[in-house]
Amino acid sequence: MTDITDLDVREGVDRETVETVQNMGSYKYGWNTEIEMDYAPKGVNEDIVRLISKKNQEPEWMTEWRLEAYRRWVTMTEPKWAMLNYPEIDYQDQYYYARPKSMEEKPKSLDDVDPKLLATYDKLGIPLREQMILAGVEGAEDAPAEGRRVAVDAVFDSVSLGTTFKDELAKAGVIFCSISEAIREHPELVRKYLGSVVPQSDNYFATLNSAVFSDGSFVYIPPGVKCPMELSTYFRINAENTGQFERTLIIADKGAHVSYLEGCTAPKRDTTQLHAAVVELVILEDAEIKYSTVQNWFPGDENGKGGIYNFVTKRADCRGDRAKVMWTQVETGSAITWKYPSCILRGNESQGEFYSIAIANNWQQADTGTKMIHLGKNTRSRIVSKGISAGQAQNTYRGLVTMHPRATNSRNYTQCDSLLIGDKCGAHTVPYIEVKNSSSRVEHEATTSKVDDDQLFYCRSRGMDEEEAVALVVNGFCREVLQALPMEFAMEAQALVAISLEGSVG
């Protein structure tokens, strides 16, 4: 594939990203970068697990941890309870490790960096200075900044390419680095928390991830620290037939605050690609994590060919009293989405929130939702889910709210709205509610509606074309969730909503 779309070099991301997104036809991130890659052989076995561990220069305990997970995984079977239909995945027909060759030696300046890699960053809308840092150019940290203050960690196929603003974050005591670096540099933290929220044995995909994860991000916010800037990770799958298995671990120590953004893209390919990530959030007393995702993996083409199979385990553990977590997700991509970001509300008065927009168009299938596990007293949770189905797509909300016996005086509010565009798609709502004490309260509201012809005509009679009208009405439908996103992300998400629905009407 050589049809690389040329985009101008951009200085800032925000406004221009939005405009570019608006101006592009269908899937914006569908280019692929031809970069010489260093692959491990196809398939997974103990040797591959050892190889990944070795490539990351991991200590013995980490290799053992992975092997333990691998041995567990071979005894497990893939879960089939989700409302998803896809051909059998051949786990031996995937590459589990790919790394750009140019990363083997550190470049001295931008001139030494593979220009194709830089072009990739450009298209992702990453500012130049951050491109230099991500490309590993020495001294790039001292170059002048360009306005936007978001620290970025980029993961290209399996490897973290670098993290920006590291020094400045370090001054605040914040650790933000790739997980492979954290395993080497901060083993005490990693050993303490890795697998403590999503255990190795948690589920088929999480266990596979535990064995073969190649990189991901690590964040530690020390007690009482409010992270001075938003942190973000950009994931991109580039190499063909490559699975991406990243692992993210974020720890907010007592009274710490952090807002974390995650973006994902992948090239257009005829074949499907596997993505099985694990995200673990640990939130101690009075700490707060806000985790936002805009997932825009390649959804497959309009005939349902290709696309990412996205099997993700995300879980937050509010370990301390008054700990707070907020998941916000905008899921527009992937052929298959299997994802249930969850909250364990262990601490008394802890709070969990889940705001979700899931859009499925053409032949996409999404089975997504959340779990709110109330263990502590006076815990609160709130779920707002907006599912949009168009084309032949199937969109399922699956959620669990459980109130344990000692979670007295706890509350949950769930609002689950589905919007249908056209008459060949489906929306499904599968709520599970378990209440084991008499003082807690659970509320569940669900609606399903079709995009209203009167609304569309009203918009069009005012001059908007049909797609603009649908995007406006759908953005209105999603408003509560869009408002929960950080500002720049909200703009990009709005534009994405419009793009994801292209061709859904008429």
Binding site: C459, R460, S461, R462, G463, D465, L472, G476
Partner: protein
């Protein structure tokens, strides 16, 4: 400006003819009123002109400054300068009134090859026009028509009209559901927009709106056709005697 000739329209889903050879011309700068009993096809006329689905034109034509409206998409008609003030303005949850207006204004500007208004430019204009119609800043922020009173909805339609600056305004029973004060506000809004280059087609059941918005010509519509046209006195006649005599006269 607007020329409708021998227009025949039936419902798409059933074999029911609604407009049966309607002919009407509204020259530039004039205000024409259409009155008529229930079921005479007045609202259908407004929908067909603005391009709503569900109708089939079986014969005749409708042009705006010589351009055929019937071949255009609704948004193209809007960009060409046609505006319909809805009898029942539609609610759009979650979409701020201001966002809606700005999207509409810029969509039309884009379609005409004009530069889009920046947020600042737009804000200045909309605030001034909203104030004239006594539309509060709060109403501009609320979702489009959601929770608006009848009067607020109609004032909001006039605000859209003022912002979009159409050449041909069709008002479908804008007076329905308005109290006296709201009717005055709406009428003042419309009168402020009257100009040489702008025409109005005012559809109404009642003469009282025409006390506020003085028409140049009044048409009586019945059974899908215009059966009589005349000056403002025709509306008074209807008010006094009902439609009975006129219908009988038309046979």
């Amino acid at each position: 400006m607007l020329k409708i000739n021998n227009l025949h329209v039936k419902l798409e889903d059933e074999d029911k003819q609604i407009l049966k050879g309607l002919t009407l011309e509204v020259p530039a700068g004039e205000v024409h009123a259409i009155m008529g009993p229930n079921g005479s096809g007045k609202s259908t006329l407004s929908y067909v002109l603005s391009g709503r689905d569900g109708y089939e034109v079986t014969d005749g034509s409708a042009t705006l400054d010589g351009e055929s409206l019937l071949d255009m998409e609704p948004e193209e008609r809007a960009a060409a300068g046609l505006f319909l003030a809805f009898q029942y303005p539609v609610e759009i949850p979650g979409v701020g009134n201001m966002t809606f207006l700005r999207t509409a204004v810029n969509a039309q500007r884009k379609a005409r090859g004009e530069a889009e208004l920046t947020a600042g430019e737009f804000l200045k204009v909309v605030r001034a026009k909203a104030a004239e119609l006594q539309i509060s800043p709060d109403m501009l922020k609320r979702p489009v028509n959601v929770g608006f009173s009848g009067g607020e909805k109609k004032r909001n339609e006039i605000l859209q009209m003022a912002m979009l600056e159409p050449r041909m305004c069709i008002m479908d029973e804008t007076d329905s559901g308005l109290d006296v004060d709201a009717m005055r506000l709406v009428s003042e809004g419309v009168n402020a927009l009257r100009s040489e280059g702008r025409s109005f087609l005012v559809i109404t059941h009642y003469q009282r709106l025409l006390n506020h918005i003085k028409p140049d010509v009044v048409h009586i519509m019945s059974n899908g056709r215009i059966i009589k046209s005349g000056g403002p006195e025709l509306a008074l006649e209807v008010e006094e005697n009902g439609y009975g005599d006129l219908l009988a006269e038309a046979g």
